[in-house]
């Protein structure tokens, strides 16, 4: 029949040859195309809020992933912490979210509508599909990833504040550089001696932004057994003797004892070798390493009744994907998250965070690393001791925290008294909780 058809077309020899070549080309393309489709390359957008030393650690992880997984390419975008959550929320609303994101444990309630429920996604139970098991993660961190009965996150790490101190300045001040202060009394003694040699004694608030003063106050408050809110978040419970004692201590560092000056940047002072002691998180590790300062890390001193430090956790999430994103992409994203967990020794070694994935946390590679010996072991000990305290976990966490920190900052800068700061903060947070 086909022969009859072509006979009737009365094609010249030239046209017949051309038709044959075209048919052959189409068949080859189809075969090649099906080969390409069978080997489809997925491109995943991974947005993070990392911007310091830990950002470069994530770059290493992604580079390794892209090298070892030719079928998937991660396109990594990293940025500032402050507006990250707003961007993530808006991109989900706009239908253009990244495939993988990061969420702090404390922001799970507020970000929940923007995240894919991992056990009930449209692609199925993603944890089962990727083989992600809760028992492979640090228990507290795994448990904290559930909000209102739904799991949204896979924990990446925990991080917390510790005491970083300049061993050379300790020596110069006549202190034992291998014996950092462990109690409030020892801290005060060390601070006085460092101040006497003309250096800044201590900066208890990282780079000195309002949220860092708030964290420092939290630490001093929690160390007395205080809690910020009642169980149901009906009202604030920090405007009391404990809250006042904590804030007065913090204010005195800058206003009365002269251990530092308002408006300063603790990290900059430390890397310049002008600061004896700094309260900052484990992500400071690579900055400290590159600074050339002879430093060491120590547990947060127990200034009041018990050792407590501020901490949080990073978690990996899959933002809610629009329907145009196929289930295969979502499955690829969760498998990528699992891969990152399994390779989070890089996160620990180069980012300075304590990985949440137990095989890595307890593994030899991390345990023998310089990062572990210099800082992570300290954090791990504090976590095991039960010293880690999460801040506010509530859908309005950011607004509540902001309402506290503006007054803490004013008190630290000597603009209002500590009592006035607590009164104003209490009034404002109670109004937010009541609205």
């Amino acid at each position: 029949m086909l022969n009859e058809f072509f006979k009737n077309l009365k094609l010249t020899r030239r046209w017949k040859n051309l038709l044959g070549i075209c048919l052959a080309a189409v068949m080859l393309l189809a075969a090649g195309g099906s080969f390409v489709f069978a080997q489809k390359k997925y491109e995943l957008n991974f947005n993070t809020l990392f911007h310091g030393g830990d950002a470069q650690a994530m770059v290493r992880i992604v580079e390794k992933f892209n090298k070892e997984n030719p079928q998937v390419k991660i396109d990594l975008v990293q940025g500032q912490w402050e507006d990250y959550y707003a961007k993530l929320y808006i991109t989900v609303a706009a239908g253009e979210p990244p495939h993988i994101g990061i969420t702090h444990t404390t922001y799970i309630p507020s970000m929940a509508p923007a995240m894919t429920p991992l056990e009930k996604s449209r692609a199925g139970n993603l944890l089962d599909i990727a083989g992600i098991k809760g028992e492979d993660y640090v228990e507290d961190l795994w448990k904290a990833g559930v909000y209102e009965g739904t799991r949204y996150v896979v924990p990446l790490d925990t991080h917390m504040w510790a005491l970083w101190y300049n061993k050379d300045l300790f020596k110069e001040a006549g202190l034992d550089p291998n014996s950092p202060p462990n109690t409030g009394k020892e801290l005060e003694e060390a601070a006085s001696k460092i101040k006497a040699i003309g250096k800044y004694a201590i900066h208890p608030a990282d780079i000195g932004k309002p949220r860092h003063f708030r964290r420092a106050w939290y630490i001093l408050f929690w160390q007395q057994g205080g809690e910020l809110f009642d169980k149901d978040f009906a009202k604030a419970t920090f405007n009391n003797d404990k809250g006042l004692r904590a804030l007065e201590y913090l204010v005195n560092v800058f206003q009365k004892w002269g251990w530092n000056k308002p408006g300063t940047n603790g990290n900059a002072q430390f890397v310049a070798g002008r600061l004896g002691m700094l309260w900052v998180g484990n992500w400071f590790y690579w900055t400290a390493e590159r600074s050339g300062v002879n430093y060491a890390t120590a547990p947060m001193p127990q200034i009041f009744d018990k050792r407590v430090t501020w901490g949080n956790s990073h978690n990996m999430v899959i933002p809610k994907q629009p329907l145009k994103v196929s289930d295969n992409v979502i499955v690829t994203a969760i498998k990528t998250i699992k891969w990152i967990s399994e390779n989070s020794d890089i996160w620990g070694i180069y980012g300075g965070h304590a990985p949440a994935y137990k095989p890595v946390l307890e593994g030899k590679k991390l345990g023998e690393s310089k990062t572990w010996k210099k800082s992570l072991s300290v954090l791990s000990d504090m976590a095991l001791e039960g010293a880690l305290h999460y801040p506010i976990i509530h859908p309005q966490a950011k607004q509540l925290e902001h309402s506290i920190q503006v007054y803490v900052e004013e008190a630290v800068n000597g603009i209002i008294s500590p009592q006035e700061a607590l009164d104003k903060a209490e009034e404002e947070v109670n109004e937010i909780l009541g609205s």
């Binding site: 309002p210 300063t264 900059a268 503006v406 900052e409 004013e410 800068n413 603009i415």
Partner: protein
């Protein structure tokens, strides 16, 4: 047919249509990028808006909440304080620079002019970071050299009283150069015969400036004033980078207040209401400026 003849026959109608066609592209852009976002923004402000959790119409409740909020009024007055310092400073500095450049015929005058204009080429983040470091109490040049001269200046950005003026000063450094260019260009259009006649009549420098330069610069001043007022009321980048609205809320301006409500607390409806209020404020000030200054240059 008669109607058609009238429509295309009369020159007036035809030129009207031509005129309309000429402005149509701009009108489309204006409508799409200004009117539509404004209208939609107002629509959002009438809701408790959450694109993911679901939105609810609440009428003017967001506006009532704002007008009852002391934090909103704090941002409102901070914005006026900032604009009240920055706008005159930018205009006056721009005018002074323009006058100096016009009169200077020394070697290197062009280089000086370029140096005064250069800050305008920088982005807001660079300007903010540079001045944040200049004002730093530890390593900042401002406090270091002032202390060497025996001056005990406040830690500007950590001082409740000085934070906004410090930001206004940095802003003036950034923008005055561009205003200088506007004024210098306008001064170039003033006929030199007017100054010669005034000199012949015995007018000195001040009288020439007061009675010739200033009146003939009216349109340029109005243009610069409107431009600068809008930037003044919309200030955001410098504030968030230099002080984050602190210490406390002493430098929190309306744009930052809007940003926090919308993007930190995800209260989009409330943020849209702040945006609409800001629009109304700027519109009123612009209309008043037009009314009092006018666009005519006249002696």
């Amino acid at each position: 047919m008669l109607k058609t003849g009238l429509f295309f026959g009369k020159r007036g109608h035809r030129s009207q249509i031509e005129g309309l066609l000429f402005i149509l592209p701009y009108a489309f852009l204006w409508g799409f990028f200004l009117i539509w976002p404004l209208a939609y923004g107002f629509f959002i402000s009438l809701h408790k808006w959450d694109p993911l959790r679901g939105s609810k119409f609440i009428g003017l409740a967001n506006y009532v909440k704002l007008f009852r909020s002391p934090i909103f009024w704090n941002a409102f007055f901070n914005t006026f304080e900032f604009a009240g310092i920055a706008v005159p400073l930018i205009i006056i500095l721009g005018l002074v620079f323009a006058l100096l450049m016009q009169r200077m015929s020394i070697r290197g005058g062009r280089f000086i002019e370029a140096s005064l204009f250069f800050p305008y080429l920088l982005t807001v983040s660079i300007v903010s970071l540079v001045w944040k470091w200049l004002f730093d109490p530890d390593v900042g040049l401002v406090l270091y050299y002032s202390s060497r001269l025996g001056l005990h200046l406040p830690t500007f950005l950590a001082d409740k009283f000085w934070a906004l003026p410090a930001i206004a000063f940095a802003t003036a450094w950034w923008l005055a150069g561009y205003r200088m260019v506007i004024f210098k260009a306008a001064m170039g259009d003033i006929p030199p015969e007017l100054y010669e006649s005034a000199e012949l009549d015995g007018a000195g420098g001040y009288k020439k400036f007061r009675h010739i330069t200033l009146p003939l610069l009216r349109p340029a001043i109005l243009f610069a004033l409107i431009l600068t007022t809008i930037s003044g009321f919309r200030v955001f980048g410098q504030v968030i980078m230099m002080t984050a609205g602190g210490p406390g809320r002493s430098s929190e301006v309306l744009a930052l207040y809007l940003y926090r409500r919308g993007f930190d607390y995800l209260q989009m409806g409330l943020a849209a209401a702040v945006g609409f209020i800001l629009f109304v404020i700027i519109l009123i000030i612009t209309v008043i400026s037009f009314r009092f200054l006018g666009f005519e240059s006249r002696l």
